[in-house]
Amino acid sequence: MLPKKVKKRASLLAIFLLASILGVFLILNTLNKNILYFNSPTDIKISQDLNYNKKIRIGGMVKKNTLEINNQEIKFIITDFKNEISVSFKGTIPNLFAEGKGVVAEGMLKDKRFFEADRILAKHDENYMPPELKNILSDNVK
């Protein structure tokens, strides 16, 4: 059998570990909303306490065929395939920003359906492939 001291230390450690897991879980639970880097258009739609004077981030996909670029501003629609929000933006966009790709916009809500961004970040997906393969894939889709 194991010596008494070893048993004592093992049980002490088990209690300590359980307590810290519980602690971390509680912290994460209370922080839950703040951990989210961005809200989806659906989150905005169902949210009760919207603050129109605070900066927030909205993320989703840039809806296809909605991107309008003219001299002064860029307009597009962010969608999570359930709900949508129109975004207008003045400034430079990252290289990877494109229709049908992920995007995170930072700025202020004007109302539940309209968002004025002052910063645009591109959200990259987890697919990596060489360009030739991408061409073959898109040919197959056609």
Binding site: V24, Y128, M129, P131
Partner: protein, 235 residues
């Protein structure tokens, strides 16, 4: 147990391994680098900035893996008090901190052209910074407490608490909305990364693992000599 680890044969093996890794390291490094920088194709979307992944991803893996090893060694160590495990954990920690920092810095360099920002306080990046802080605390306790048994106890507890952070880092991209993309390489199921890019990634990972082994062996050897020196004084 003590005798097994302290067997002088182990010491001789460490020497042999160090020499062996030293002899093959540069050839492998050149091969891996040429694949990562020249032969592998650019990404269809990111272009050539995808090459940053070849150092970023292995560095992050090593950072996570070595902390997991340290934490499990610490659990055994806290309960059974085996001196050699302390030496091993102590020798791994600086490597883990180094690679965690490399992962954070290269990730930030990749973020600028891809996301449009160097830094974002999203769940993945924040939990990675917390990992680096745990490494730092672990290393500092060994420097701060001169009494070794106390240093061992405190650092073990730090590593064990830090272990909770590991699944948070791993699954942060799935549990919460983050700017960081989900993992491309999955333990089970198909990977969403093309084989022409997976190969240089794994090659680079292998080379960096060899580097870690080299540093670990040198650090472990240093620790053994330090202990031996202390024993000399007792005569």
């Amino acid at each position: 147990m003590f005798n097994f680890f302290y067997n002088s044969n182990i010491f001789i093996w460490i020497e042999k391994l160090i020499n062996f890794i030293n002899s093959i390291f540069f050839v492998l490094l050149l091969v891996a680098l040429s694949f990562a920088l020249i032969f592998s194709p650019p990404d269809y979307l990111q272009g050539d900035s995808v090459r940053i992944m070849y150092v970023h991803v292995p560095a992050a893996w090593i950072g996570l893996a070595s902390f997991t090893v340290i934490a499990f060694l610490s659990i055994i160590n806290f309960i059974f008090k085996i001196k050699n495990l302390t030496l091993i954990a102590k020798s791994i920690a600086p490597i883990g901190l180094l690679f965690t920092c490399i992962a954070i810095v290269t990730g930030s360099i990749w973020g600028q052209p891809t996301w449009g920002t160097f830094w974002a306080w999203d769940a993945r990046i924040t939990s990675m910074v917390i990992l680096a802080i745990f490494y730092l605390l672990f290393i500092l306790t060994h420097k701060y407490f001169l009494e070794e048994s106390k240093a061992n106890n405190v650092s073990s507890l730090i590593a064990i608490v830090g272990l909770i952070n590991i699944p948070i880092v791993k699954y942060s991209v799935e549990w919460w909305a983050t700017l960081h993309q989900p993992a491309s390489i999955k333990i089970s199921g198909t990977s969403s990364i093309h084989s022409s890019m997976l190969m240089p990634l794994l090659l680079m990972f292998f080379v960096l693992i060899l580097y870690c082994a080299l540093i670990f062996l040198m650090k472990y050897k240093t620790e053994i000599i330090r202990i031996k020196k202390k024993n000399l004084k007792r005569i």
